[in-house]
């Protein structure tokens, strides 16, 4: 549904209308705007489960999902989390640079696409709100799932609450400052 505009050249009026009413649904989105045209059976998704599996193991084994490690990070008592995120960003940045530089394609031969993120004040307000919750629960959305997997089933309540928070954001979105 988000690609409709891309298939014809929109008139300036259309662009203006889209910008006003559809208050940048796209740029706030983390979902793919570069949808693949390929149709695959469901089990093709299992490769993402395999990547997730490795990620989940690392999450728990390096104690990134530990409430204690997060407390240490925000009290500047340990280098651990800074090391994890720093290494991740450096390797990720080198990878992205290489992909762009050598125009690496996906395993299905499709062009890998990147989309610039647009600044809005949500990154300030929402970012701060998120940070408050992160230090409280000791988990961002990924570790929430890993904490449940590691046996803390009560975190299921936290997860439901997070989904509720996302829903309320969606509901009040037009009225919030961005």
């Amino acid at each position: 549904m988000f690609n409709v505009q891309e298939f014809h050249s929109p008139s300036p009026e259309e662009i203006a209308a889209a910008n006003n009413t559809d208050f940048e649904v796209r740029s706030l989105d983390t979902m793919c705007v570069n949808e693949s045209q390929l149709q695959h059976p469901w089990w093709y998704n299992l490769k993402y489960a395999a990547v997730g599996l490795l990620f989940g193991i690392a999450f728990v084994k390096a104690e990134i999902v530990s409430w204690f490690r997060i407390q240490e990070m925000f009290r500047l008592q340990s280098f651990h989390m800074y090391g994890v995120i720093g290494t991740g960003v450096v390797l990720g940045a080198i990878s992205v640079w290489l992909i762009k530089r050598f125009k690496v394609k996906t395993i299905y031969g499709e062009q890998i696409e990147f989309h610039p993120k647009k600044f809005n004040r949500g990154q300030i307000f929402g970012g701060t709100i998120f940070g408050l919750g992160w230090a409280m629960t000791g988990a961002c959305p990924g570790p929430l799932f890993a904490q449940i997997g590691s046996g803390a089933f009560v975190i299921g309540v936290t997860l439901l609450s997070a989904i509720g928070g996302t829903w309320l954001y969606g509901y009040f979105r037009e009225r919030l400052p961005h």
């Binding site: 988000f2 084994k61 390096a62 009290r75 997860l159 829903w167 919030l176």
Partner: protein
Amino acid sequence: MELLSKPWPWWAAGIIIGLIVPALLILGNKHFGLSANLRHACAACFPANVKFFKYEWKKEVWNFFFVGGIIAGAIIASTLLANPEPVKVVPELAAELQTYGITDYSGMVPNQLISWESLFSLRGFIMLVLGGFLVGFGSRYAGGCTSGHSIMGLSDLQWPSLVATIFFMVGGFIMANLILPHILML
């Protein structure tokens, strides 16, 4: 095996997380971002005619598979690869936590704080329910979480992601140092 079951050093996890970015891109043009799943869950279960949730969530099922893998990985890590030792914590933090009655380091989360019993206490309810709410609301408001902004966005040198990351840290520092001690006293 013993090497695997000991807690992994920061660089091992950093390398794996960093390589998730190109892995997802090369496997199918997917952008690393976990909080999107919370939105997809809303879109799938209760869109309620809210425009923000009216999209074809089925095109994003790959991310549910990714999360399924994370849960399975966490189960493996805490059973087959479990570390029998309690979580090591710096002495300053341990001393502080003791004043709140947190002395059990056997799990990834403090059992005295995050458990079914404590869910029905004021302290536990705030931690679990309000904490989760802030994570869900804030990450969507910010347009992403630690994975989408701090890892994927920074890897792609997106400055709005740097802004988001800075404010994640601002919020975290405020909570951990200024607000959380009062909540933990409850």
